[in-house]
Symmetry: D3
Subunit: 294 residues, 6 copies
């Protein structure tokens, strides 16, 4: 169960309205790696958590914090939209600066939400739940989380560069700091889990069952061998169980595929002379009066 506190977690007050920037800021609200994504991702990971209580609690702590981040950014966007020139006025229409603002705004901020934040990204694409990950395997999911916080902090930093408004930058500096913490947090949790199990997810699958000849081979599918110069192409593998090998000219190990013709009732392509299973042309014609094909 949840409770709401009226104060925001941190200040969210722009120094000036800026409807064009409001459109861009939507990316970290409702984009692929916006706050809605981490909020829903962490909440679902927490609710589905079948591991130790300390993980469930930790995940729900951060999930609950993220709701507050969504709240801050939504509040900021609503204020950035204050007084947006969404009405056509004869005089203003002649001013190219006003026109540029009108052109650069997200029109739905005026028509649909009435100068409110929308659960969409910076091109107006609505948030959807396929942005989230909750697999039931915490090591896998903590890697998803580390990625989400990395992409997220990168985007916030880019947005920080795109404005000089002190109020906006103040809020962003808070979010950037929290993302510093959250990257650290997931790195710590990953380290802890990797000490309890193998580094390769899932660690419970017996490696004897995988095709081990190719478990540590880097395959060079482009001409040129620049890719041989990296850590991934030689030396001990990262899981400590093998050695990287560089395959300069990988060979196909499988068959040339040849599919059977589909049965007659599929009405696929018929080649002249091809025998289709179940397609007996004489019988085919005769059965027609029965209003049943075969």
């Amino acid at each position: 169960m949840f409770f709401h506190t009226k104060e925001l977690q941190y200040n969210a007050k722009p120094s000036n309205p800026d409807p064009v920037y409001a459109k861009k800021l939507q990316e970290i609200l409702g984009g692929q790696f916006g706050e809605m994504s981490v909020m829903m991702q962490y909440l679902f990971q927490g609710w589905n958590c079948r591991a130790d209580e300390k993980y469930k609690d930790m995940i729900l702590d951060i999930g609950t914090e993220e709701i507050a981040h969504v709240e801050m950014i939504a509040t900021m966007i609503a204020q950035l939209l204050d007084g947006a020139p969404a009405r056509e006025q004869d005089e203003a229409a002649k001013d190219p600066a006003v026109e540029a603002v009108l052109g650069g705004m997200n029109p739905q901020h005026a028509i649909v939400s009435g100068l409110g934040a929308t659960p969409t990204d910076s091109v107006g694409y609505p948030w959807n739940a396929r942005y989230t990950v909750a697999s039931g395997n915490l090591l896998a999911d903590f890697r998803a989380n580390l990625n989400a916080e990395s992409q997220g902090r990168l985007q916030v930093v880019r947005l920080y560069e795109m404005t000089t408004d002190p109020g906006v930058r103040d809020m962003l500096s808070f979010l950037i700091a929290r993302d510093t913490m959250h990257q650290n947090q997931w790195m710590a949790a990953i380290e802890e889990l990797e000490q309890n199990q193998k580094a390769i997810v899932p660690s419970t699958f017996p490696q004897a069952l995988e095709k081990q000849e190719v478990s540590y081979s880097f395959m060079n599918f482009s001409n040129g061998e620049e890719s041989s110069q990296g850590r991934w192409a030689s030396g001990k593998s990262m899981d400590g169980l093998g050695n990287f090998e560089y395959i300069a000219q990988p060979q196909a190990m499988g068959q040339i595929p040849k599919l059977n013709p589909s049965p007659a009732y599929m009405h696929g392509t018929t080649m002249p002379g091809q025998v289709i299973p179940g397609m007996d042309q004489a019988n085919f014609e005769e059965n027609q009066p029965n209003n049943d094909l075969h």
Copy 2:
């Protein structure tokens, strides 16, 4: 530019058709973490790569390999669908086993693709490009890649458990091994990049500009303090630049938000007695005959 070789990278031949399993196998073809996702993710990361050639080459090597994985799984699915009982026959309809197959199949495998693989997941949801990540920051993206290979291998392993068909398992054992390599590969690449820059993405943002008071604080937003027991709650931070701190009772640091009323031309909610900017009721009425509101 690309060239195609007719042989598959590895065998993709089921021992028996199994249309119900074909539906499930679609997950690793066209699902969020299926082969189409890593194929497109790596290709776009490679094409957009602005870093050293060895990274671009490496990323495109693996991207090109993933096209071959899509090919293998698509080929496998088409064969699993061979002879699917997609036609109603009076006798068969009485057989509950046949009925169960009909009920468990993806109907689009019969109606839409004519017993072919579809670019969709195990519930028939089409693949879309928001599954991919290419941010221009390789450390961020390699974390996305490590996550993708972790989720991917987990799903392949689960599908391995869901069949006993030796041919299917043979192919999956190959994919599992390649995912072992690919997790290792991205771990190696991450390690290499972290040696050249700080661990926190993006490493180029001056930390002095973030709100450093909260850069290493774990905030406890649930009742109970189980979350204090993890590596993330105390000790040196993972980036080596701070110490984790556990905030048992986090306080709000921001304002109680209060938004201005929207301008009259937005036609938002009007409260009795509320003064709306630009809304001059007398003037409002007078101007109506001009067919222009204000």
Copy 3:
């Protein structure tokens, strides 16, 4: 800012696992009118609210409650999936009952979420933000909310009928009761707003500016006049400002549309003899060597 309490708002414990029912229950979690929709809808309405504080507070109260409903249903689904027979076992495969369960489950509950709830509906379609409404006009939005609670309670009732599990029914009886309250709540809020403004949304648009000849006319666009028998076809209009009128044979009042040909650089359809603006055939040919069309 938000806080989490570990106890659920109400019990969410099934008497028995039931993976097929888990799939159906997803509808009221991540469907068009599931709890995720009202949760996000109310939170955004609250954060964007520019009206009196009592409305903002009320909306955020219910929005915060809905997070708890999402939590309850997610928790219920995870338990309904307990021990789902997601692995192929030779013996079980011969049992049609097990096969039916396997066929009726959402395969992503096994492959993707590892027996956890997913932010999707009963056919596996992911939740998306276009399910929500927050227009900046509270009367409009409260009608959206009344609709959401009506559709929602209807779906919960239908799901109540689809199970006999006492634990599931216990949780659903709580949700049904809350939806009774929530329908009442929005009806009350609507009544209050309608006393402050006109019933037609938005109430601030001067009716003199609309084409008033057709403001109260019911138009009969089907043969037959059964539609004349309703309250909407005669008598005082509901806003008290007009009288309903039944137009048995509505007439077209507009032009026969005739569009201009598109300019030459659009490369639309060219009719023989048609004069296209900007398309001067002689000039067209001559300019080709300049590598520029016109």
Copy 4:
């Protein structure tokens, strides 16, 4: 069956082309509450209607009218796009006014539709069928319809404010008037149905089966009690069957959820020392040579 009349229901002729406004006008064609939504919503409600013929007829009357509204707006958009400067010309490129138009247009209006209307909203997002509601319960659906007409009229009014083109405003004044009627119509139909059944949807579920202790309680999940000041917090409930009650400090009534570990074949997170059902480590290893896990 349907017939088409060449004349439009009302005039749809702009006084001047305006490609930037064409982009905005798309919202009420293909947006969440655009005319395509009400058209498809009413048609499906009508076709699925299992109630009295007068309802079916009424719903299909209005559904058929809405096709004509889609036609009018599509026609208007095509004309607003007439002569859009979609081609790069050296001279024009230097004119910031032309550039602003180019930047403000929807590029698909030129590249994809060749200066025609598209079935998308004002940010280019395609219309989809999850915008519609047809539940089989007319009271629920009429509330959906009243909401749709409220949101719709609000958006048309906002678009009216965003232009001064007399031709566009003329068409919009017609649509606004029809939406006045349609809000009145659904209010009338709702009143009629509420007289035949209880106001709470669905009225056929026995209230004794719901958890009646919470059927009329407003729960205050935020600090502060501003929400107690509304009609929803005290007095007779709107359905006349109870009294509103304000719960200032709502208590959790449910369990602290604790999920079982998932079975071994799910390969979820394994905690050290945790006993996983079906995971017998010794046996686990032994079975590997059989190429079958268990």
Copy 5:
């Protein structure tokens, strides 16, 4: 403007309810090539038509017919769902046949639409407007239409094979016949347009401006030359303006791409020693106290 006639264009009466088949039949209602697609595609092509009136009229004739097809199939589905066993009953639950029906049904047919048709396909995916095509070039669009009617008739035929219900087959036999006509119709319209312009769309682009060396070359990008055996690999080209040529070993004609590093404010990957435009490390540090990066 449109009018509705109560009679269906053709009979739509199943001989028996069949909820599992109802799910499948949704494909031709709300699928990629279902009747909703052609209905909306033709209506938008008609409304946007800038060519001779006979084309606009023809397109709107068929578009109007397709609304009637949507109506027929929706009506059929609602009847196929009659009496669907959507409620759990203790006795029935033990019957595997009932269970199979429950498993095979689309759960939304019960929970969401209350035994009505839904605007979705056979896996429950909602119809969306990206299924439609209206480019402003009729020859291009008529090819889209011929494709739609080809895919559509194929799917209807497959659905005909999947049932033996005489009532359903009767309706399908009508739709199949209309699709025969509609394929013929678009072929005729294509032939007519190709007589007025060149066969290659768009015919108005001066061929001198295209890279003509590769305008008629078939390039063999797979090993093996089976593809040389077709009509496309030799002989006169279909537009009569060239000769097909088979390139057994196509060569790359372009550069090896090398992208510039991104500017510092993008925070992309930084390579050791790499000079980033605008990134002056000394200056970078100094400016930090100004709370502005550069």
Copy 6:
């Protein structure tokens, strides 16, 4: 299996950066008819191909070529974005030209992809797999392919008109030429298949089973008879098996639909006096204490 060659198939080098044009160019990369669509469409058609090897080989040849086209356009877009003014600078902000660029750019090109191409269209909508067609019937699919190449070439030509950059035009002139070939190629393949089977897809359905009275009738559903003037309204049908007939006043041939009331457990609309199957009001009340409705 696939191999990558570092050289591009053709040059992809702009003469100058142009971030606004980069946004538009996305249409032919990730739009409905962009190169990603034909790439995935041809690859899936090839992998699923059950016909003669020469078709499979041919389809995969062109599918492999299309990967190279995606690569070229992605590379071009990344270069067009070089040095995009994505950072706010006080001086530049005052320059309306810079502002226009900022407003016209896709914000995700800066925030999300860091100046790289994205797998989206010109309005930022992500590519999805419902853009592709692979039905198992090659004649149907080759018509889809001919349409895709027609729409595609039309869009490339329009984009050619929208720029004067010689480098961009050079690349586009190559793509236009290849689309000339590809339209020719599919026309050739269609001709070949039509010589082996009937022109109407699918050719294997016995025409005796369709409702042949309406197989060649053009039905006039609009007032006015302009549509009678086309090739489709009279003369021999295109399949050579009938004669076109013009039905000036088409008549309904079906029933007036009347649906049964839904069962009580669906909780649909209840009309006063209506008898609902299974709804016995007396019994209804009595059973309530049993916590089970009926």
